[in-house]
Symmetry: C2
Subunit: 355 residues, 2 copies
């Protein structure tokens, strides 16, 4: 049976990416070699990583004033590397606290310097995106998590900050047209909209990169990675290739404008049903709802086992909410076809009739 | 034409691993999902990573007094993480300097504490493995690189140290029976004998792990990774799977005893020809030659273009020496069949006759 994959990440990718990636594991580009056995210094891989870097810039309309890096360790490593590189002990960084991932980023930053909270919805169980930010004018940078995978909220506007802006876009990178030029740094674990687990996309404005004035282990220094075109050490070759394929697919489909239209349509379809169907309710303030991860609960929790049965019978996987929040979470990344959302909505309607 | 892949890494893996990995990218284990789109918290992946951890211990006959972690960032990240976790500012760590990778590990360690050199062959262009080590009795640990991929030298005996022993085994892990119990920590980028680029195997004795008494970013703390069974953050799912497949293959072939026999036979075949053929000479002291990476040069460098032509015509790839050393390097990891070495030796003999 066809699966409808709503998993929060690692998550669904386009079928053509799976097909091309599998073929490359057997025989990359008719080279007689698997993609897994070629050197990262081989021309074949240099073409892949350079191609991927070019596509990242092209999709976000960024010029040569930005560096694109492929690193390892996911956003969790970036939580530490951002302050390790940019925050001196006597400086302050501003963070917006919108959930678990923001909180982890804040905890790591506190090991390196001072942290001030520009806004937080923690006291309200992260049900909304804080407005009216309080950013210290001399802050080294303002950090935000653009989409909150666990709680299902998302920034729909880029905050005005007056200081360098750094975004963790792990769960909504490449999902909509956004003015990337307003950010001094963007990072994202690839495993949602940008490929498979194992590589992390880091976009840094060169002017901002050059403000680093600390000494740290070479492997953690953004300058080292930029100076070596992400080949300071062996990158995650296959994962970079899967990102390259995914970026090619995004471009071929029409780029971020088309991704944004599709994602809006999918989210509208599901949120309309959540609001219409008396058995369900959303957990996030309407205006801050995520287009990527729709979180919702059953108004009668005792109905969960019956609903779970119907979901399963329809081939829907990955709909369980995060253990911190409970309920349900429908992750609708770029590669999720609207047909899968239609199937979910049909199940919700059938369930309503059945109880 | 069939390729004979002597690349130094990422490098050749067993054909069955490519076949199984490619199949999993299309449809993992008949789940209807690609290995690239399943959650790292899914039972399917938990079975993979637990299975891989069990096999690492089984192959090295290690008990429950050791932790096996799958991390990211390669050995280069471990160069920094080892002293970040284990070396306090007022302490001294002892390092054996046997090449580029040892030197990088030493440079990172110096950021965290004192480093004393237990032995070095730097002044002799790293042509041998230093004997008669000078290990400080109160050193926090002794660090060595068991195999030197670039220079082609290898430890054939485990040094006596009297202090905790830490080994970078990136290029010879699982290549021979070795008494792993003598090490307090072993780490290795997977991309030679243990899988594809993108994951790093870290084996730590629990007693040694518990000596960590520093505060550091959570993502860099070995204790966090151990406490969370390598799922503190999203691991490199596909790369861990490829390691699992590779470990299964090693076990099915007969384990480390068989790997060691095969690797010795391949190395003997090639070194015998290097020593017999007057056109070639090895670059490393005979007793310290690596079974993994045989480095050699042409006695008449002007013959290189002609030899390169013959290599290429035979389908041999990856034989170029590292840019720091020049000449040739034949990497003969576990998965390289002896037939490929026979082809190389035949080319060397044909070349001798042709000039």
């Amino acid at each position: 049976m066809k699966k409808h994959n709503f998993t929060s990440g690692p998550s669904i990718l386009p079928p053509i990416v799976f097909k091309q990636a599998a073929a490359a594991v057997n025989n990359y580009n008719d080279s007689g070699l698997s993609i897994l056995e070629i050197s990262h210094r081989d021309k074949m891989f240099l073409d892949i990583i350079e191609g991927a870097q070019v596509l990242v810039k092209e999709l976000y309309a960024l010029g040569d004033d930005y560096e694109v890096l492929f690193m390892q360790g996911g956003a969790s490593a970036q939580f530490a590397l951002v302050p390790m590189n940019f925050l001196n002990a006597d400086e302050t960084a501003s963070y917006i606290d919108t959930g678990v991932w923001s909180d982890k980023a804040i905890k790591e930053a506190k090991l390196f310097g001072n942290v001030s909270t520009a806004g937080s919805s923690k006291e309200s169980s992260y049900r909304f995106i804080p407005k009216g930010l309080n950013v210290e004018s001399n802050a080294r940078y303002l950090h935000l998590t653009t989409n909150n995978t666990i709680y299902g909220s998302q920034f729909h506007d880029i905050p005005n900050s007056g200081v360098p802006l750094i975004a963790d876009m792990s769960s909504d990178i490449f999902s909509r047209p956004w003015d990337a030029k307003r950010f001094d740094m963007i990072y994202a674990g690839a495993q949602k909209n940008a490929g498979a687990a194992g590589t992390t996309i880091v976009i840094i404005k060169k002017d901002f990169l050059h403000t680093i004035n600390k000494r740290m282990p070479m492997i953690f220094d953004y300058r080292k990675h930029a100076d070596n075109q992400s080949l300071y050490n062996t990158p995650s070759v296959f994962a970079v290739y899967v990102s390259y394929l995914t970026l090619q697919w995004i471009k071929a489909e029409g780029g971020l404008a088309v991704m944004g239209q599709r994602n809006s349509a999918k989210a509208a379809l599901l949120y309309n049903e959540i609001d219409r169907n008396s058995l369900f309710s959303g957990t996030v303030t309407t205006e801050d709802r995520s287009l990527m991860n729709a979180t919702f609960v059953l108004s009668k929790p005792e109905l969960e086992p019956a609903f779970n049965e119907m979901i399963k019978a329809a081939g829907i996987v990955g709909l369980k909410g995060h253990r911190l929040v409970g309920g349900y979470r429908a992750s609708m990344y770029n590669a999720l076809p609207i047909e899968s959302v239609q199937v979910l909505v049909a199940v919700m309607q059938a369930f309503e009739k059945s109880v």
